[in-house]
């Protein structure tokens, strides 16, 4: 990739400064590390996507006829593990966050550049363990690793899968730590907390979750591995253990992990809605507070995954109530993005189209979360396709839309090239349509009672028609995801050279050249303006109206 982007003139950039594999694998430049992550997570995204496609093809017909039952169980397990631990969690923070946070706060790099590189290596070691797990025959615990199934019964590569999650967890912890220190210590003169772009606030909130939550899931999966190897009796009831203990540990991280995925996306959407509405964000402080509020309250809702698992009646009541508390800041955010557009001067470039899609799909995902927080309804729909649809609306409809929005928005800065706008808009449309066609029918399937993780539903053929819609949608979605991959690669050679500020956007990252030089700023920037000062910036969005 390094050689593709050189013809921006003689100016030295972070891309053309050095060549050769060593200059990439030993780099401590946050921008180059971001690109290393970009390549790695894209690799895992397409592996996870391939598993998803096989799952959808199997479910096209009621009988289990495409793959064996055990293969199917491995497919949904590895789809979940790869997508969550190796794509969704690192995607926005490790790629866009890594690239942008130092620039947005006016710094030359993250606080600990070498630890940043270490994070990537840990991610890669975890990734190699994951790939080994897949190639060595796979794993079929479900991404949730529930014992005693995972510890006593399955014959697959549970230990290496657990290690993969464990190691990559440390990558996530170190990235979070790096961001927290950077945001506290490295802000340019004048860049006060109240002037931080919401993208940075979002990553601050996310980093807190990463640092506090990830160790717990690391402990939980290590205990699974140890229990499996040495039969410690922590989770196994015949040895005096408690299988629900694992579920508490696992969800203590894995619920907040949803916010690790979605909160950075909220940061992206805030930047984009402001830029393409040419407006200050509506309610800056409420938005920043809501991000932190989600991160904090998000730690107190984990047992809402366990309403039918055998927890006490009163525990269930408390966790239901707290789950509604976390819905309030989410609602605030949706209202504020919408209000930001009011009396704006709006254009519809690709990033904005994705942002529209995000607002819509996140709204549906959030509202269906209210169904699941309602105890009586949750009993019926938990562990069905309703839940599958709900979390895909948040994580794919929300988070992946936001990720693609951000990739298009900052691609000119990252690569120094413009992507083709027409193709961009087409892909955004395909993703939106394909996504809804894939996942909306699953809400109905869930209410009808189709359980998750079913390889064969031939005793309930009434589920087929909606599964056919879902599979059809998935193929459209696949095309929608392949397109950006193709034209981003194409644009690195053939795209129009990007100006420094192609969107006339606010923010320090747009004051420096595209692509930036290694140390970002030639001289120390001093910030004298508020975030989103669109009243002081040219109004037009110059590219591709």
């Amino acid at each position: 990739m390094a050689t593709a982007v050189v013809e921006t003139g003689e100016r030295e950039t972070y891309l053309n400064k050095e060549y050769g594999i060593k200059s990439w694998l030993l780099t401590v430049d946050h921008k180059r590390i971001a690109l290393l992550y970009l390549m790695s997570i894209t690799f895992f995204f397409f592996i996870g996507g391939f598993f998803a496609l096989l799952i959808r093809l199997e479910l096209l017909t009621p009988a289990g006829d495409l793959v064996e039952a055990d293969t199917y169980n491995k497919l949904f397990t590895m789809h979940g593990m790869v997508m969550i631990f190796f794509f969704l969690i690192p995607a926005v923070p490790a790629v866009l966050g890594n690239f942008l946070i130092p620039i947005m706060i006016g710094a030359k790099d993250l606080a600990f550049p070498r630890i940043n590189l270490l994070s990537w290596y840990l991610y890669i070691i975890g990734g190699i363990l994951m790939v080994y797990t897949i190639l060595a025959g796979g794993v079929d615990t479900g991404w949730t690793f529930y014992p005693p199934l995972s510890t006593e019964f399955l014959k697959t590569n549970v230990v290496t899968a657990a290690l993969a999650v464990f190691v990559s967890g440390f990558s996530s912890i170190l990235t979070g730590l790096n961001f927290i220190v950077t945001i506290h210590r490295m802000r340019a003169p004048g860049m006060t907390w109240n002037r931080l772009p919401l993208f940075v606030w979002a990553h601050y909130a996310t980093s807190i979750i990463q640092v506090l939550g990830t160790p717990v899931v690391a402990i939980a999966v290590v205990l699974v591995a140890l229990e499996r190897l040495f039969h410690l009796g922590i989770f196994n009831p015949t040895l005096g253990g408690d299988p629900l203990l694992f579920q508490h540990l696992f969800w203590f991280y894995s619920h907040p992990a949803v916010y690790i995925m979605i909160v950075p996306g909220m940061g992206i959407v805030s930047e984009i809605v402001c830029c393409f509405s040419r407006k200050r964000i509506f309610g800056y402080k409420a938005m920043a507070l809501a991000l932190v509020g989600i991160a904090v309250v998000g730690f107190l809702v984990w047992a809402h995954h366990m309403f039918v698992a055998g927890i006490s009646l009163y525990a269930a009541l408390i966790f239901s109530l707290l789950s509604y508390f976390v819905a309030v800041p989410s609602a605030i955010k949706v209202f504020n993005w919408t209000a930001t557009m009011y009396k704006g001067s709006i254009t519809y470039q690709t990033p904005m189209l994705y942002a529209f899609g995000f607002i819509g799909l996140f709204t549906i995902g959030g509202l269906t979360g209210l169904f699941l927080a309602a105890l009586g309804v949750d009993v019926h729909v938990t562990d069905t396709y309703f839940v599958v649809a709900h979390f895909h609306y948040i994580m794919v409809g929300g988070m992946v839309m936001a990720y693609l929005a951000g990739m298009h928005f900052w691609w000119p800065k990252i690569s120094g090239r413009m992507y083709p706008e027409g193709w961009g808009r087409l892909a955004a449309l395909l993703v939106f349509v394909g996504f809804n066609l894939t996942f909306f029918p699953q809400f109905i399937l869930g209410y009808m009672g189709m359980p998750r993780r079913y390889w064969d539903y031939s005793k309930a053929p009434e589920f087929q028609i909606l599964n056919v819609f879902s599979t059809a949608g998935a193929t459209i979605l696949a095309v929608g995801y392949l397109l950006p991959m193709i034209y981003f690669l194409w644009s690195m050679r053939y795209g129009k050279p990007a100006p420094d500020n192609p969107w006339n956007a606010a923010g320090l990252e747009w004051t420096i050249p595209s692509p930036p030089s290694t140390f970002n700023f030639d001289e120390q920037p001093v910030v004298t303006w508020e975030a989103y000062n669109y009243d002081e910036i040219k109004q037009e969005v110059p590219v591709a109206h």
Binding site: P243, S277, Y324, V328, A374, L375, H380, R452, R453
Partner: protein, 326 residues
């Protein structure tokens, strides 16, 4: 209401009516919200699209609006919360005098045993209009007992009992699914619940010939030698079990626990976990020596000892009671 909506699942229990009502309310409120947001986004996007020479009007925000759109959703959420909690409370509290079915889940089948001693695999027959309490445990991994037409689901966990109950309202054959991923044939761990008119149910039950579960338990109680210590007078080395079920028990460490199914079960497989006040920890464990079915029979027997007391608490059979009005 909602009987002929396409894709709406069959509705065949009292709980299903409650769940559908809340679900419908949630659908209406969410649809209104979604339409509101979508309309505003589309309207603003079109109405305020960029026009040459026209500048955006900068607005910093509004505390009044922020508070409004925090408080109003919060109040609506609290309606969801309370309504959902009320349904859940009912769902989790089996009525007194429920008929009982002991259930053992294993990879990959459901085994049911009625109080009359009737055994079934992957098929459960119940009469309309009778409260039925499922007392469930698993022989291996976690499973989940799910009957969509009843809108009930409960995980079934090894090493303990979990409980679900329902009152069927409509005769028919309904799906029974395992809803917690349990290994290779998870999707094959399915069966059906057959809801019958009471007289058909009586006929299905037949002339008997089965040994009632509590009687099986009583025999085991002698065979395993339980009876030598747990005598029905105060002379035994173990506590007297007559009238135990449902009563508070004072433990050696000063705690008081209620003698429910899980307590009785635990006292058999891990007798030293909770020592009754005034007794010594001398009982050997039966962990691994008796099957889950035998455990169920023992629990059913111990509960039946409780029935000689005035409160009618446990061990009801379905045929024993007349069907209750729906």
């Amino acid at each position: 209401m909602l009987q002929n909506v396409p894709f709406w699942p069959a509705r065949a229990s009292t709980t299903a009516n409650n769940v559908d009502a809340l679900f419908t309310f949630l659908v209406v409120v969410s649809t209104l919200m979604t339409v509101l947001i979508f309309t505003l986004v589309v309207y603003f996007a079109v109405r305020y699209r960029r026009r040459a020479g026209q500048r955006a009007e900068q607005i910093d925000g509004s505390h009044a609006l922020e508070i409004t759109w925090s408080i109003i959703p919060f109040c609506v959420f609290m309606v969801f919360f309370v309504w959902g909690a009320v349904i859940y409370f009912k769902e989790r509290t089996p009525p007194q005098n429920s008929a009982e079915v002991y259930t053992v889940a294993k990879q990959w089948m459901w085994k049911f045993e009625h109080m009359e001693g009737q055994r079934e695999i992957n098929e459960l027959h119940v009469p309309v209009g009778r409260d039925v309490k499922m007392i469930m445990t698993s022989q291996d991994v976690i499973h989940s007992f799910y009957v969509p037409a009843f809108r009930i689901k409960q995980d079934v966990i090894p090493g303990r009992y979990t409980v679900a109950w329902f009152r069927a309202t409509k005769p028919g054959t309904y799906h029974l699914f395992c809803a917690e991923y349990c290994g290779t044939s998870h999707s094959g761990m399915i069966g059906s619940v057959v809801v019958m008119e009471p007289k058909d149910y009586e006929a299905w039950m037949g002339g008997g010939g089965n040994q009632p579960l509590a009687v099986t338990g009583e025999k085991l109680f002698s065979e395993l030698g339980c009876v030598t210590c747990h005598r029905s007078d105060t002379q035994g080395r173990g506590p007297n079990l007559v009238g135990l079920y449902g009563k508070p028990v004072l433990l050696e460490d000063g705690r008081t626990v209620t003698a429910d199914e899980n307590y009785i079960r635990e006292s058999i497989v891990a007798p030293t976990a909770k020592i009754v006040h005034g007794f010594k920890p001398i009982m050997p464990t039966f962990q691994g020596q008796i099957s889950d079915e035998q455990l169920n029979a023992l629990v059913a027997y111990v509960k039946s000892l409780g029935q000689s007391q005035s409160t009618e608490t446990g061990g009801k059979s379905m045929a024993a009671a007349t069907p209750q009005p729906q």
